[in-house]
């Protein structure tokens, strides 16, 4: 590990950021889920409910990538290597999304 202090500070900052960002997203997801069970299927608000699920999915994806980056950094002890792996994973995710989009 290049710098344990740098790692811990980055991890703490990322945790705060991801949890803080998650608060409005969880709120939106809760409203979307309540709406999913309570609103009629033909509702014009269906789009806003879908947005609630979409925001959560995006947040979950970014979170998993971020945590895996920190895990790579911790296990390999190399920030450069962890960044390379993160770029690789991001590329895989983007390719999967592009493939899903084209279908």
């Amino acid at each position: 590990m290049d710098s344990m202090l740098g790692f811990i500070a980055s991890l703490a900052l990322a945790t705060l950021l991801l949890v803080g960002l998650g608060v409005p997203i969880i709120k939106r997801l809760t409203l979307a889920m309540e709406g999913h069970f309570e609103f009629s299927g033909d509702s014009l608000t269906k789009r806003s409910r879908l947005a609630g699920f979409l925001y959560f999915t995006a947040w979950a994806l970014v979170s998993v990538l971020a945590w895996s980056f920190f895990a790579d950094w911790f296990f390999t002890g190399s920030l450069e290597y962890a960044l390379t792996l993160l770029a690789l994973k991001a590329e895989i995710v983007i390719r999967i999304l592009a493939e899903l989009g084209s279908d």
């Binding site: 998650g22 014009l44 979170s63 895996s68 279908d103």
Partner: protein, 373 residues
Amino acid sequence: MTEALKIPKLPGKKRREAKQAVQDALSDQRHFPCPSCGADLRFHPGEAQMVCTHCEARVPVPDVDDAAAHIEHDFHKFLKDDLKRPEIEVSALNCSTCGASVEFDPDEHSRTCPFCDSVIVADVSTQRKLVPQGLLPFGLMEKEAQAALRDWLSSRWLAPNDIEEESKADKFNGIYVPIWTYDSTTTTSYKGQRGRSVGSGKNRRTVWTNVSGTVTGSFDDVMVSGSASVSAEFKDALGPWPTHKLETYQTEFLAGFRAENHTVGLAEGFAQADRFMKVKITDWIRADIGGSRQRILSSSTSHANQTFKHILLPVWITHYSLDKKRYRLSVNGATGKVYGQRPFSMLKLFGASAGASGVMAVLGVMLSRAMGA
């Protein structure tokens, strides 16, 4: 159609007298004296009859054929004013904040808008209002609406623990909300492209073929709120409405309740219904084009057999306060379904976010190990 007829500007005393005269005349339309004691009769939702507020005498609502409530009226004839519909004059309070126009009960001293809870400062005006052809009578008493509200509040996710005990709900207002329902048969001509995937892997691509066609379909009872203060979300969230139970409009059903006047006109309402229809028509076009992907380049829809109904739907509306914030809640007066604004517990939201982040962290570590870091 709704047309605000303000009481003309008269010197102070004469104006007060004129206003009082109008209000007295209008209040007679809604007041049903008890045959036994002369006190006011109120419509009793549980019993579907009028009950005296003083001696509890029961007076049944006159039995009228329900057929009039379900008659479809010709949309174009009405717009051309060929179809005469009865109108009445009502006294209304006009909310300058949310645009609601609620019938004014001279006995009621509160001048707060039941929809947005703001103090109404606008003047009382008389309005010429189209008489609705039918209404769905209140089936829920105020106590039942309160119980439905308590159940709803207690089932909210991530809400404060003390939401039921701490929330102070105001008096419930029983309001009939104006609704337009539209029927239409649509014919849509379109031009588009059908996409077909060819190849595989990196060579995979979509081949587009030009297509055109016509789709027809019919819409039955597309509901649009006749009130600018009632959103589409509000109407949808409280639905479905048991419209098969519609009764022919009789003022007896309104005794003890308030009715909102329609502020959205018939043509304006159809424009809103058309937006809903377009979403469905787009689905039909996509299904007609077929293939794995579709592009709609242009489409043109014509409507035929356009008819409408003008009805009233029952809603219990209240506001409650929690931590100095006000929330609006509505209960479907026929089914008890609740919709409204709700508070969140910041502590619970933060906990849920931290918990979800914890799960993501475990998945992240698993991903890292799986990729052989």
